[in-house]
């Protein structure tokens, strides 16, 4: 174990811990755009700089390993000035449209700019040329003008998703996140949306017709119902409607989802979705109450009892495992039939 002091607080952490993580253990959140536990170190946003006693350099804490007796200051005057300049530089090339941006309220650039008093009127002028939005993906779009080049999307796609659809193109200020001929399909993208999940700004955002503000939603933690992995997710609910699915980083999926978990939620609020049981009356399926439906099943059961081949049960992959278990149990044990199937074909 290593003892060190961060902002006057003593802490003891494991060897090889980074200063950034040690600080986190103390509840001190050092700002960073590009650091992510799941990804290789890029050390490029330079926001996680700290002052360490004994050196007058500013060091990035995301790749700085703790040392015995280290005295770290994450809030010194020097650090704050550098951070304010760093953020002001980004702001200088960033569209000033937080009021319209779908990321507002959850945007790290916005949060840090608030924390470090970045002025709304840019104090610097950088010679950035606007790059058009790219909407070639069905589910999301990328706005390079809002990209701060943290490279998280690039790294998650290649290091975690294993697709490697994204990369950087050009250099200097002309650098942008690129993908096969600037078309997501050419890039082999599987539309898992992991890049969208990690993007700290509004550069990568879902396409959506829903208008909502991020402080106006409820988040419901749940398990994805599509397959057996059990990915953890948060349903983002606005006025009773699911408007987005966020991946949860604590589950075994560690913040990743597949295209179904991330984007195939529209059926929930779809107008064609069945919300009541249907019962066939005069050759036509019509909406009914559960009482009616159960009565019908009961009646048919008594009518054909003993003729096991007369029964068939069909359930849905949208039900939970437990529900499906009970369903097949009932058909096998009560209706005495093996005619049972479900629609898990997605």
């Amino acid at each position: 174990m290593i003892k060190l002091i961060i902002n006057g607080n003593q802490i003891e952490v494991e060897e090889n811990t980074t200063v950034l993580k040690a600080a986190r253990e103390l509840g001190i959140e050092i700002p960073t755009f590009c650091d992510d536990d799941r990804l290789s170190k890029q050390t490029s946003c330079r926001l996680c700089i700290v002052e360490v006693e004994g050196t007058d350099k500013l060091l990035t804490s995301c790749n700085l390993e703790v040392k015995e007796g280290m005295v770290v200051n994450t809030e010194s005057e020097k650090v704050r000035i550098a951070l304010k300049i760093n953020l002001s530089l980004i702001w200088a090339g960033h569209p000033n449209d937080c009021m319209k941006c779908g990321k507002s309220g959850e945007c790290k650039l916005q949060d840090y700019s608030f924390e470090y008093d970045v002025d709304a009127e840019p104090i610097y002028s950088v010679r950035k040329e606007a790059i058009a939005k790219n909407a070639t993906n069905h589910f999301f779009e990328i706005d390079p003008d809002k990209c701060i080049l943290c490279g998280k999307c690039v790294r998650i796609c290649s290091e975690q998703v294993g697709v490697g659809a994204l990369g950087f193109k050009n250099r200097g200020q002309e650098t942008y996140v690129s993908f096969g001929n600037d078309n997501f399909e050419d890039a082999g993208c599987v539309s898992c949306g992991s890049c969208v999940s990690v993007c700290p700004t509004g550069a990568l955002l879902n396409k959506t017709a829903d208008k909502y503000r991020n402080w106006d939603v409820d988040k419901v933690r749940t398990t994805c119902s599509y397959c057996g992995v059990g990915c953890q997710m948060e349903l983002v609910v606005h006025k009773g409607k699911i408007v987005r699915v966020d991946a949860n980083e604590e589950g075994s999926n560690r913040g990743l989802l597949c295209v179904k978990g991330k984007y195939a939620f529209n059926f929930i609020n779809h107008r064609d979705r069945l919300t009541t049981p249907l019962v066939r009356k005069n050759g036509k399926l019509v909406e009914a109450t559960w009482e009616e439906a159960y009565a019908k099943i009961n009646q048919k059961y008594l009518e054909f009892k003993g003729e096991s081949n007369s029964f068939v049960g069909f359930s849905s992959a949208r039900c939970t495992n437990e529900e499906n278990y009970l369903f097949q149990k009932m058909f096998r044990q009560v209706f005495k039939t093996n005619n049972i199937d479900h629609c898990a074909r997605l």
Binding site: I85, N86, L89, F168, R171, Q173
Partner: protein
């Protein structure tokens, strides 16, 4: 094949006399013609000169060999043709004059005076290279073979004791070799000045597959030291890398050269092939256990690819983007293997250190910066070119004696070292010595060897802006401070040169420069503000003049020039009036001239022409 010391020495004996004769140390009664076929002279058709010389010699049936050599340094006076062992130096030779040189000098034994160099001080024609002041204060170690041997002949290299240092190293233990390099005090010539022997020992202490790399990216604008060494003495680099490979335990090397150096690549390739054919590269070199081979990797010419981690990424086939250190390449470099990377010039002196001993090298230069340094001397000096001087020489000696002083009698203003990572020094520093530490103390740096002299026609703000413009284009874009910060600095400088800045902006500028310096990821960003900070340190007045008086005394910043005006310093020489493209200058000979303001197109032709500096901008 050369598989033993005896075989090497045999080959050495075969060409040694020819080399000694060329030096004039023995007399074989045989003359040779050396023609610089480095990139500089080649662009003035020196290859054609070689062909014409050979043709004329053949016609006359003379027993004279013509050799294409590397750069002789005095590029200002190229193409250069030398007759050896006479040491006759013909400058600015034209293709059409090759034949006359042959008949005059080689056939009739008369000096072809038309093409002799004229000493600008004495106005005398100078016959021999050794009497040319440009070469006076130079000590050639890295460049010792450049311009002296046929760069495409391994035999000639061996004739200058080539590959003997490798042979000698293989009789020592790797630790002993490293000790010699350490004791010599050699520091990396790529800019950082890190002790080479120490760096080698880091890699030596690691195990497993290792690599040795040569950094020939040379991205500093205006610098061409490394190119010239590769073009003039490619075998020295091969030999040194093999020595390094042996010392650290690497069996493979790469030379990373920018693709814009086709001639250097060609010569290096020829040399690698020759060394392989002789068994000096490959398995069991000199019959020992040591095997080593190497190849060239071409870079696409990005400045940042000279940064070692970016260079390694580029060799690996990735984007040339730097990574944070640690880990240092000596521990985790190319394909994660321990890797040593050194500059071309660093390698070029290593065989000499091994052969002549650490003490010999240490005696040259200063205590903490031993040896020599090659500079590409350029800008407003009379003699531009490639020079090699002992560390510790004064700036004055370089600029006034070797460089022949500032051009056209203008006034010296500053000298820039370290290129886009360095800074400027002023006339108050002319008697300062040149070595790693002193230059850093003065707020500039050694850099890789660009040295640009400025006169009073250069605006320091404009120079800072020029370098920042370069950096904005060359920043890899990975980290925020460099990517955005340098662009913001550039814009602030542009505001100053356009007369749009305030004093408050100057404070912000300095603050921003310090932030970029202290928080950028790699050396490129960390040093990028240096030209601004150092011009601010020594030429703050000039910044203030731009901001407060909206005036650029050097007449460079167009945004601040609304009028050219002839002061009463005018001597009426009529030079300005004769050359004005719109004929808006009036005046009689020996009388004050006047510019007709409304007609003047502000081309500044008169301003740069006036011999007495009577014309000012305002």
């Amino acid at each position: 094949m050369i598989k033993s010391k005896a075989e090497l020495m045999k080959k050495y004996q075969q060409t040694k006399d020819k080399i000694e004769n060329r030096k004039g140390k023995i007399d074989l009664k045989k003359r040779e013609v050396l023609v610089c076929t480095g990139t500089g002279c080649m662009s003035s058709k020196s290859k054609k000169i070689v062909a014409n010389l050979e043709e004329a010699i053949a016609e006359l049936n003379l027993d004279v060999e013509v050799h294409g050599t590397g750069c002789l340094g005095f590029c200002e006076k190229g193409p250069i043709v030398k007759i050896m062992p006479d040491d006759t130096f013909y400058s600015q030779v034209k293709v059409s004059e090759a034949k006359e040189i042959v008949t005059e000098h080689l056939l009739n034994n008369r000096i072809y005076t038309k093409k002799l160099y004229v000493n600008p001080l004495t106005k005398q024609k100078v016959e021999k290279t050794k009497d040319i002041p440009f070469y006076d204060n130079q000590v050639r170690i890295a460049l010792r073979n450049c311009g002296f041997i046929n760069a495409e002949s391994i035999d000639e290299y061996i004739g200058t004791k080539g590959y003997q240092a490798l042979e000698l190293s293989l009789t020592k233990s790797p630790d002993e070799v490293i000790e010699v390099v350490k004791a010599s005090g050699l520091r990396g010539r790529g800019g950082g000045g890190f002790p080479t022997g120490l760096k080698w020992s880091f890699a030596k202490n690691n195990t497993g597959q290792k690599y040795i790399l040569c950094n020939a990216d040379e991205g500093d604008p205006g610098a061409f030291m490394d190119r010239s060494i590769l073009e003039g003495d490619p075998h020295a680099i091969i030999e040194a890398m093999a020595i390094g490979g042996y010392a650290i335990g690497a069996n493979y090397g790469y030379v990373y050269v920018r693709a814009e150096y086709p001639h250097a690549v060609e010569r290096l390739n020829i040399a690698i092939e020759q060394a392989r054919a002789e068994g000096l590269l490959g398995e069991n070199i000199f019959g020992t256990e040591f095997s080593y081979d190497m190849e060239i990797r071409l870079g696409a010419g990005a400045f940042v690819c000279g940064e070692e981690t970016a260079l390694i990424a580029s060799i690996e086939g990735d984007r040339g983007m730097p990574k944070t250190k640690p880990p240092f390449p000596a521990n985790k470099g190319l394909w994660d293997a321990p890797t040593i990377i050194n500059n071309v010039e660093t390698y070029a002196v290593i065989p000499q250190i091994i052969l002549n001993g650490a003490e010999w090298f240490k005696k040259i230069g200063t205590e903490k910066s031993s040896g020599t340094k090659v500079f590409a001397l350029g800008g407003k000096v009379k003699n531009t070119g490639l020079i090699e001087v002992p560390m510790g020489i004064t700036l004055r000696k370089i600029i006034e004696e070797i460089g022949g002083g500032v051009t056209k009698g203008r006034e010296f203003k500053a000298v820039l070292t370290g290129g886009p990572s360095g800074g400027c020094l002023t006339k108050d520093h002319l008697d300062e010595i040149v070595d790693f530490d002193r230059l850093t103390e003065l707020g500039s740096m050694m850099g890789s060897g660009g040295m640009i002299v400025l006169d009073d026609f250069n605006c320091m703000v404009d120079i800072a802006k020029f370098y920042m413009d370069f950096i904005v284009d060359e920043s890899c874009g990975k980290c925020t401070p460099c990517r955005e910060g340098t662009a913001a600095i550039h814009k602030m400088l542009a505001d100053i040169t356009d007369g749009k800045a305030t004093i408050a902006d100057l404070v912000e500028l300095e603050k921003l420069c310090k932030m970029v310096k202290s928080t950028s990821l790699c050396g490129l960003g960390q040093t990028a503000p240096n030209p601004v900070l150092s011009t601010l340190r020594y030429f703050k007045d000039e910044y203030l003049e731009h901001i407060e008086e909206k005036r650029c005394a050097a007449g460079v910043c167009d945004g601040l020039i609304s009028e050219l005006f002839i002061t009463d310093k005018c001597i009426g020489c009529t030079l300005c009036a004769k050359n004005c493209p719109v004929s808006c200058i009036a005046g009689e000979r020996k009388e004050l001239h006047v510019i007709e303001k409304d007609k003047c197109i502000l081309c500044k032709d008169c301003f740069t022409r006036c011999p007495v500096g009577a014309i000012i901008t305002r």
